[in-house]
Every structure is written in C-alpha cells, then in structure tokens.
C-alpha cells in the first residue's frame, strides 16, 4: 500500500476514534466474524496444505496432516504433479479449453444483451432486468435438470430437430458431448457476466457517446473506440467472475454428460473426495487448482482494493 494512503487513513482514524468512539469499539464489531473466518476458512485452507504435504496412516490409509512446514513431505505433491503432466494432462487441457470457450461465449452473448438492456431498454428496462436476474434465484441444479429433460433422446429438442429434418434421427446429446457441457456452462454462469456488464454500461455517460457521434463516428466506430475501451475493467471482472466457478465445476459435467470423455478438473477432485483413502490426492488436486487460479483471483482482489481506495 502506498505510504500516502495509509497516512491519510491514520489521520482519519485518529480523528474518528478520538472524537466519538473508544478505540476498541469498531474492532470489537468485526472480531466475531474474524474469529469465524480464522477457524472455518483459513484453518481449512491450511489443513489442505498440511494434508497435501502430510503423510498417510500406514494401516488405515487415512491422511495424517503435518502442521509444521518443517516436517512436510513432498511425495503426494510430486505424485500429483506427475499425474497432472502425465495421466491427467488431457483433463487439465480440456478444462482449460472448455472454460475458455464457455467464457468467450458468455462474454460475446452477455455483452450484446447487457448493452441492449442498458442502452435501449427504454420503458421495458425493469421487466428486462427482472428476467435477467431471475436465473440467479433458480437453483443451479434445477436449471441443469431442465436441460437433462429437454436433451433426452426422446426429449423435446430431439423431437423438434427430427420434425424439422435437421437431423435424421435423435441425437444423444447427453452421452459425453463436449459441446453440451460447454453450452451447459454458458447457460449456468452467463447471468454472472451480464449483471456486472449491465451495471457498468448503464453508468457510461450518454454525452460521451454523443460527442463521438457529433465528431462523425458511425455507431460501430463509436462502440469500438469509446464504449469498448471504457468497459475493459468490467469485461475483465466479468470474465474472472464466470471463469473461477467454471474451473471448479463438476456437477454440470456429471449431469449433462457423465462420460470420461468430458472429465474436467472438478470431476477429478470430486472423484478423489468420494473415494475412501484418497484424502491426500484430493488435497493436492485442490492445491493445483488454487495455483492455476492464483492469477485471476489476484487480479480480482487487486482491482477490488483499487476501486475501494478510489472511493
């Protein structure tokens, strides 16, 4: 943190706590939640580390966490990394591609929708917003279940497609097709992309766009030269918000495919958790996922901190 900011903060703090409230007053409000996060958030994260770097009970095969970094053993981690670059390399690459494609579709489609509602929503804006928000209130599993019903071999999608002679016979959409999983991910997470984009686009001053227009730009170049560069932070934030949960998603995959040909990182983690005696594997896989996500998480935290400072 730059020195300038902390100095301003300190003087403000002195002013407030000195005048009205005793010094312990506000920290006391935060302390129960801090204690909660210490025990039920940071401790579990550290436990993942100490199980990943820990040992295994020789008889019961249960993981024995090693709490002191001094005594950590790296055998599980080495084995896990070996598999990441060997046996499971396909799975990691596939996850990366699926998430990349799904986020890209989310961005293009989500941007168009958010732009339309923010700029041209007009009198129907409230209705449109309610419709855009509604998926957030519907259980994710129900939304996937709806597609399981529709994409069944005898489901309505196949019936419509065969009726229109698009396909000669029903397609097994749910039988291990990557495209189904990718579209499922898009369907599941796109609302999280649209809402921040909408909130941002709605705040862009109309006068900025008008000045572009007055200087002779057609709608497309106004968009490319003014709106798009302005919305870069919102785009990045939206991409982080949708891609983080996609990387850890396994239920979309199991519900819409369930086949080894579409396995993702989330499925590997879920499999190891559901298999007795694979605690260390699960911990190592979580650790690898965390390392993969370090950059997007770091970006998100940094931009949030900056936005908070700007206020």
């Amino acid at each position: 943190m730059p020195a300038r900011v902390s100095k301003v903060r300190r003087t403000r703090a002195a002013e407030q706590s000195g005048v009205h409230y005793p010094r312990w007053f506000w920290p006391a409000f935060a302390s129960p939640a801090i204690a909660w996060l210490l025990v039920f958030f940071l401790l579990p994260l550290y436990a993942v580390l100490s199980i990943a770097f820990g040992t295994v009970d020789p008889i019961f095969r249960t993981p024995l966490p090693v709490w002191q970094p001094w005594w950590w053993t790296t055998s599980h981690v080495v084995e896990g990394l070996d598999k990441t670059f060997g046996l499971f390399q396909q799975v990691y690459l596939r996850t990366f591609w699926y998430v990349l494609l799904a986020s890209a579709i989310c961005l293009v489609l989500g941007y168009a929708v958010a732009y339309y509602v923010a700029r041209h929503g007009g009198r129907r804006k409230t209705l449109l917003l309610v419709l855009l928000v509604s998926p957030l209130w519907i259980s994710y599993l129900m939304r996937m279940l709806a597609w399981v019903n529709l994409l069944d071999r005898e489901g309505y999608v196949n019936r419509i497609l065969t009726f229109l002679h698009v396909v000669p016979q029903p397609v097994g959409w749910l039988e291990g097709r990557g495209i189904t999983v990718i579209l499922g991910l898009v369907y599941g997470y796109i609302p999280y992309m649209i809402l921040p984009l909408y909130a941002f686009l709605d705040r862009i001053e109309g006068s900025l766009l008008e000045s572009g227009r007055d200087l002779g730009a057609d709608p497309l170049s106004t968009f490319v030269r003014v709106t798009l560069p302005l919305s870069r932070p919102a785009i990045l934030a939206g991409l982080v918000i949708v891609s983080l949960p996609m990387f850890g998603d396994y239920f979309t995959n199991t519900m819409l495919s369930g086949s080894p040909s579409t396995t993702m990182v989330g499925n590997l983690i879920d499999d190891s958790i559901n298999t007795a005696g694979q605690g260390p594997e699960a911990a190592v896989r979580i650790l690898i996922l965390m390392v993969m996500l370090l950059i997007p998480i770091g970006y998100y935290l940094r931009s949030t901190a900056r936005a908070a400072q700007a206020r």
Partner: protein, 308 residues
C-alpha cells in the same frame, strides 16, 4: 426520454439516394434501431427461461416420463402414495433439511456479517485491511475449494463437528458470510456518517446513536442480506453435499443431483419446482420489505438484491 425525437430525426437523415448510399446512410445513422441486438436479447431470454418453464410443467406430468408431458395433474406432487414429493419419505425429509439449513444459516450469517461490515467500515487501524482481504478471498474462492477444505477439516481435524447438519451450517455460513458484508457496506457508503454524527452532537451516546439512528437506516440492507442468504443457502449444493453425513441430512438439492443420474421420475422436477417456488416467495417478500424499509427514499437499483 429523447428516444422518440431521435427516431424522427433518424428518418429525416436517411436521404433517398441509390441503393448503396441508402445502405451506407442506414449503417452510419446513429439513431437506427438496434434490431439485431434486440433479437439477440429476446432470443437469449427465451433460451434462458423456456427450459425452466418446461421443467415446471413436467413436474405436473400425469405420466412417468421426464421428457414428455402426458396430461397435467398433481400426481407427482401429492397424488402418488409412495413416490410423490410429499409422500416419498426421502424427499419429504429432504424438504425439511433444506429449510432447516437455510433458516439456521440465515440466523447465524446475517448478524455476524452485519457486525463485520460495520467493523470493517469504521475501523481503520492495523488488521482491518487483512480482515477485508480475507473476506474478499472467501467471496471469490471457488465453492469446491471451500467445500473440500471444510470436508477434510471436519473429517480429520475438528472431528467433534461430525458430518451432518452442524457441519453443513458451518460451511454455509462461511461461504455466505461475505454477502451481507458487501451489501451492508454498500449501504453504509450511501448513507454516509452525517445522521449518526448529528445524533451524537445532539448528545446521544455511541450505543444509542447506533441503535436508534444507524440500525434503522441499515434495515433495507439487512433485509436484503436475509433474503440473499436464505435463497442462496436453499439452492446451495456443493458445500452441503460434501458436508452431509447420513442420508437424512441430504437436502433437496443433493437429492436432485442423485436422482437425476439414476432413474428420475417427475417427482424430482416437483422437488426442483418446490425449491423454485420457495425461493421466489422469499425473494418477492424480501423485495417488498426492502421497498417498504426504503420508503420515502430515492429508489435504489434493483441490483442490490442480486448480491453482486
């Protein structure tokens, strides 16, 4: 708005010239109607909402099929004596487990989160930055990380916490804690410190200023937090699945997952529809209450209720 005047001006600028010129003037006309965007938006909304409508209709299916509707009725909600939603003992128990978990989570998370928000907002000393950082970290952490970490801790470290209802509530509270903090802090930012300071200048001791001035001003945010946390916990799946113990501690969301991969009947659609109705009811009530506690103020954006 200026939309109608803009439209008429747009018509005026489209000068009747040969085809290419007309196309160009249509293209560069800043007031032309965004037909394509409009089509994409309504297409998206149809894609997003129609599957849910079909799933709800299937829950009222008379037949056994999960993919085609053979007449409507309440067979899978109530009618069937052994496998309808309210008669299948497994689903029946799951409904209550879902409700139990969300109510308990809401009751713990909201007070904890509101106090945390107040503390973080006003306390500028050492440590507040770190606390804020950890809170945000818990907000962005993928749920599977939290779920697996909690599972490992409950099984191997805090063994007194047995897998089951208590562990599930603890996991949900941890996962949901950042929502009330973010909602309440946004509200604190918009109301400012003036009212509270005025109260104290008029002689109110700090505690009274908080209880009689600040807290009433926070009611909309607190209500929004209750709504968001309740609805979100009701629909939660990843955390509660890893932390569930015996079969009777599995809530509806987990049952939907398990059943949909087995041989599902429309009863599972009825379960999902039940969750949908329950969430909708809570959100509508929450929104009405939110508007009521905010009466007389400038209307704030609906997005406050989305938890983003």
């Amino acid at each position: 708005m200026t939309k109608s005047t803009a439209d008429s001006r747009g018509v005026g600028t489209a000068v009747a010239t040969p085809q290419v010129g007309r196309l160009r003037s249509w293209w560069s006309n800043p007031w032309r109607k965004p037909r394509l965007l409009e089509a994409v938006t309504w297409g998206y909304l149809a894609w997003s909402i129609l599957p849910i409508v079909v799933a709800v209709l299937i829950s009222f299916n008379q037949g056994r099929s999960n993919s085609s509707i053979q007449g409507l009725g309440l067979n899978w909600w109530w009618g069937d004596p052994s496998s309808s939603l309210f008669h299948d003992p497994e689903l029946h128990a799951a409904i209550f487990q879902s409700l139990r978990l969300s109510i308990a989570t809401m009751a713990v998370t909201v007070p904890l989160g509101v106090a945390f928000a107040l503390g973080l907002d006003r306390w500028h000393g050492r440590g507040s930055g770190t606390a804020n950082f950890v809170m945000l970290l818990s907000f962005v952490m993928p749920e599977i990380v939290l779920g697996v970490a909690m599972f490992l801790v409950v099984v191997h470290v805090l063994a007194f916490l047995n897998l089951g209802t208590i562990a599930q509530v603890v996991g949900l509270v941890t996962y949901q804690l950042s929502y009330p903090v973010i909602i309440v802090r946004a509200r604190l930012l918009s109301i400012g410190k003036e009212y509270e300071e005025a109260a104290m200048d008029l002689g109110a001791p700090p505690r009274q200023a908080i209880r009689r001035v600040l807290l009433p001003l926070l009611y909309p945010a607190i209500l929004a937090s209750f709504t968001v946390v309740f609805a979100d916990s009701l629909d939660d799946f990843v955390t509660v699945r890893y932390l569930s113990g015996p079969a009777n501690s599995e809530p509806l969301s987990v049952k939907i997952y398990n059943f949909s991969r087995g041989s599902p009947t429309p009863a599972i659609n009825a379960a999902a529809t039940f969750l949908l109705f329950a969430t909708t009811l809570v959100v509508v009530l929450g929104y009405l209450g939110y508007r009521y506690t905010q009466r007389g103020e400038r209307r704030e954006d609906m997005t406050a209720l989305t938890g983003l």
